[in-house]
Symmetry: C2
Subunit: 667 residues, 2 copies
């Protein structure tokens, strides 16, 4: 069958009817002319390099081959970055963003070196230590990783078991894994890539534990790469995704390192074994905020990728009649399909804007407060926790909904939903497990609740609690404008918070400790944080888009306003049980809201392909026969199938080895 290079005619018809200028949308989405130019240069520079092409798709390779191919590509890609002037931006594009996973589909074994080992040297090393290590590490003369999580402990840091015991006689630390569960487990690049490592261990000196401190440990010989004495090292095995990342384990059997290998920018250990506390608790909010902002933006990026694939496919695929005398319709014309895809478009946009919003808030707060008075940081930390939890959870669900909306073809690995899901669902667990994070936010909200009850002034993201307490009506007047929906969802969060606080108090009265009472109320607390976060997201989407619209054409503005409306109606309808409890919403209001949601789906329908086109994700990054710009879905699926190693010979050896003897054995 000849493969056509022309654009599929249904997809072309969608583009012809788009009501806005794609390039304008893209410029807004990417952040201006310069950024767009840089982005396209970068994509061209990396995606069109034959050395970075995929000879055989990774999903046909063995686990070992996937790692080896990932090392090959990572080194090629970073060598290329070195040739560019503006190194930093290009590094980050290759490390976290969509471009990176376009090239390194199963992740990058050098990522942790760049995003954790180097920052750990800067964040924890003294100037002398940085002078010794940073230059060599930056030039990749040594490759490092960062080992914190252990086989038996992740979330609960105080439980880590690895010890670093100071020996005053030799002025060395002895690193040791007292149990199997003390083995470091998970660090990226640890298994066979890195030769150095920042190890977090319990510091013991003069028989006393001084808590978790960072140590630089050499793992492998710099020339031969052989593991050093006392080091047990290897990889943890195959995972749902990221099999190029080379996650490893690491055990210590009395490994000695010099005293200078403890990173001492903050806490110090003197030669005589005296422990010196850091002058103040290290301000780690910045890093944590940054990581969560990045996760939130990555979720937007992955979701935009999944929904681009699903929307284009749904415009090309035809299935079933609506009216029996007419041809089969594009599946995107089925209302249920629109309801699967268009909210995912809205989420991708709103998650990205909210990550921008959060970062702006953080920078505004820290620059205002030069005096060291960082009182708003706990507030931002609380909102960042729940945003990480909700955006990762919703993006994971969204990617799966997009996949299933593509029917059987979505189940193919080459469709690239599954790889995307592997990346997204991992983020539900790492950097703070989602339930744990929701409960952190809830604990902050409980404090704010008690402040509000005492009439204390509240920081902006929780000011709605004061309004709630001031209102004589426990149920707020329903108003189906987007601003009204924000107020309603805030009222829901406040109402749930009140109930949770009451239940905790009740349980304490009945004899439970504060902690037991909190655990007994944790289902409600997690839900409260969820509501708080969703109210914030709807508000943030609304405000960020309205701000954008000031400098956009009426056509693009119109589309974006429909986006936040759809998002708000969808969130409100999903929370209708809560709204019935805490607002005056009536049966007819609900039906009206459902109708408004359906109107916004209908409004987006002619522009759906136009919007995903405007996300400007090149085919090389989408990596999916279902989602390519030309819409030649079936030809491309067939091309992908032909790449299978099983299709390189007409008869597989298993016929002669197993099948034929079996078929003849009954004769």
């Amino acid at each position: 069958m000849p493969s056509s290079t022309a654009v599929n005619k249904d997809l072309q018809a969608e583009r012809d009817k788009c009501t806005f200028n794609n390039e304008e949308f893209t410029l807004w989405w990417v952040g201006g002319e310069t950024k767009l130019k840089e982005k396209r240069f970068r994509e061209d520079f990396f995606l069109n390099d034959p050395e970075l092409e995929e000879k055989v798709p990774l999903h046909f390779l063995s686990h070992k081959e996937v790692y080896e191919e990932s090392v090959r590509k990572a080194t090629v890609a970073f060598k290329k970055v070195r040739t560019l002037h503006d190194g930093v931006d290009n590094y980050s594009a290759l490390l976290g963003g969509l471009l990176g996973t376009g090239i390194l589909k199963q992740g990058n074994p050098l990522t942790v070196h760049y995003v954790m080992f180097l920052p750990a040297l800067l964040g924890h090393g003294t100037p002398e230590q940085q002078a010794e290590w940073f230059g060599r590490a930056w030039n990749c003369e040594v490759i490092g990783t960062y080992a914190q999580t252990e086989l038996g402990h992740g979330t609960f840091l105080r439980g880590l078991e690895t010890t670093a015991t100071y020996d005053e006689r030799t002025q060395e630390f002895v690193l040791h894994s007292p149990t199997l569960t003390a083995y470091k487990w998970w660090p990226g690049g640890l298994a066979h890539t890195a030769n150095y490592c920042v190890v977090m261990a319990q510091l013991y000196s003069k028989g006393k534990c001084h808590g978790i401190q960072p140590f630089i440990v050499q793992l492998r010989d710099e020339e031969t790469h052989m593991p050093l004495k006392g080091i047990t090292i290897g990889e943890i095995g195959n995972k749902l995704g990221m099999n190029g990342v080379n996650n490893g384990f690491l055990g210590f059997d009395q490994v000695r390192i010099p005293r200078k290998n403890m990173l001492m920018k903050n806490a110090k250990l003197l030669e005589d074994g005296t422990f010196v506390k850091p002058p103040s608790q290290a301000l780690t909010y910045g890093t944590m905020m940054f990581v969560r902002v990045v996760i939130c933006r990555d979720m937007a990026a992955y979701l935009s990728k999944a929904v681009t694939i699903a929307v284009r496919y749904s415009a090309v695929r035809r299935q079933s009649h609506i009216n029996p005398d007419q041809p089969e319709v594009q599946v995107i014309d089925h209302l249920t399909q629109q309801y699967k895809l268009f909210p995912a478009i809205a989420k991708a946009i709103i998650f990205k804007l909210t990550s921008d919003n959060l970062w702006e808030m953080y920078n505004a707060v820290t620059s205002e407060l030069d005096k060291g008075d960082l009182e708003r940081l706990p507030e931002l930390h609380a909102i960042a926790c729940c945003l990480k939890a909700i955006t990762t959870a919703d993006a994971a669900t969204g990617v799966e909904v997009c996949r299933m909306a593509c029917g059987g073809h979505g189940y193919m690995t080459c469709a690239n939903f599954y790889g995307t899901y592997g990346m997204v669902t991992a983020a539900c667990t790492y950097e703070g497990e989602n339930t744990v994070l929701l409960l952190q936010t809830a604990r902050y909200l409980l404090k704010a609740w008690h402040q509000a009850q005492r009439g204390q002034e509240l920081v902006p993201t929780v000011q709605y609690l004061a309004r709630f307490l001031a209102s004589s009506n426990r149920r707020i007047e329903w108003d189906d404008s987007v601003a009204g929906i924000v107020r309603a969802l805030q009222t829901v969060a406040a109402g749930k918070l009140r109930l949770a606080a009451e239940n905790i108090a009740k349980r304490q009265k009945a004899g439970a400790t504060m902690e037991e009472a909190t655990n007994q109320t944790s289902i409600e607390l997690a839900r409260t944080a969820d509501s708080h976060c969703r109210a914030f997201l709807v508000q943030s989407g609304y405000e960020m888009i309205e701000k954008s619209c000031e400098s956009l054409s009426p056509e693009v503005a119109r589309v974006l306003r429909t986006i936040y409306q759809l998002y708000a109606y969808d969130e409100a309808l999903k929370a209708v049980g809560d709204l019935l409890r805490f607002t005056t919403i009536s049966e007819s209001d609900i039906n009206r809201l459902q109708a408004k949601l359906e109107v916004s789906l209908a409004e987006l329908r002619p522009n759906a392909v136009g919007i995903v086109d405007s996300f400007d994700i090149p085919d090389g990054v989408l990596g999916s026969p279902l989602g390519a710009y030309d819409g030649n879905v079936y030809e491309r699926l067939y091309e992908e199938a032909k790449k299978s190693p099983l299709n390189q010979e007409p008869v597989n050896q298993s016929f002669h080895m197993y099948l034929k003897p079996f078929m003849k054995s009954s004769l």
Copy 2:
């Protein structure tokens, strides 16, 4: 580190406090002494055969190796079945059930031969055709598959493009794929395993199309296995799961087969090309019902497997304090963890009982109605459609919740959640895509609604519509007993159905065709079918368990009653928005319901391990270091890691090939 064979002490403590007799529960769950004995014999017979052992875990192999190993194991396993007396039961255990996926983790390339090719011969072949084909196929002298779905068409059968054109001169059919989208796509075993195929194609004779008919086509030479002339054949590539199944594609270029190869039990084509319609529309309800009952039961089995792993792991894993002065707690003591896992236990049990229930209903109806009056079959078909949709969707979500409840370790392929998810999520798409099925149920409900409005008698599963119409109150009195919850959920379904019917009528009045109006109302219709199904599941769980309890000890009965209570409370709380709309439930009722849910979680807590133990799933089927009976989670994770081919040598070749040159290149 020495690997202990003793049972983990936390897990042992759980077993010690179980309040009921495990063996009694297991006997009930499996269906009696004989079945349990057979099951355990079968597990021992297959799982302890060294020829069926996994040398290297499949997830370390390449795509091609996975297929080859699957063919090897499938032939070994079926040879073993032949040595047993009671062939049929043992076949089915190896084809669909948990035992099968314990041995063939990525599915079985011979399954479609047994579950579709053989039944197609029986269902569509004349006695002469069966005499010619069935014996050879049963003995596996020929291996067949069943090809219906095409690259461009799945759900909408009338759209299939493959043609079988009768040539009167030679009395042959000419099979042809007029386009690329006409290629058959997906059949299991088609790619490199089968040499014959039942092909569904549009029959043309005398220039007229007579719709889809089945044809037997030889694909490969019986001796050499080479594809025959005019046949383009291969595999479709790597998938999210089931990579041992060998899903294939198939194109025809004017392939001629004799007239006798059309399967003519139903429709016929005479020598002169005259088409003879079947005497009556084939009664395919039986097969469809059976398949959906099996899917529903499989979902229960997969969910029971996932939750067994997660519950045992949660009893072994310790994380964080509840009270700061006490040791870290088992994660199963965190209420949020219980709320993730225990509803999954309840679903596994209730889905299995409901599949039994449905099959009993079907058999009762068909045996009663020997006279050919099968008026209740559409009703059962409607309930089977939505049950397939809801049980697959909920099981998929449940498996992922169990996986994420195991944190990072759940992300490992060896944990076996991901393999289970691959099996379960596939069922959301095959045998009727879930949204399509919900809309089929909804169409049935609309008919029933109109019957109810006309005062006609209603069949049992929709009799609640009459009660709803007869009631003067639109909101039913809330009653939080399980029977009350069933009535409330039925009222919800009826209320939503009324709204949907009204909206369709309104849209028709506004000028839409019936079909357009239905599409415009399809979000609501799908939700209506969802509510109908959930009411049925709560009722079915309640009734089936109450029936069981008549012959169970008070201890087991007590546990099972807590199970249906938890299930009912959970479903009710998830539908609280609906309940507020269609019942008199109040704010204090909701809080009371939440408290009841938490009480049922607390009641199940001491028996959680006891219940999953009683599911009696052997380690060989669980296939997970996190879920093994002995609870030696960490030792087993380490053993699994050591199996990685990357861990067989201290330095991977990629260091010398790529990494070292890269590290030295900056010097």
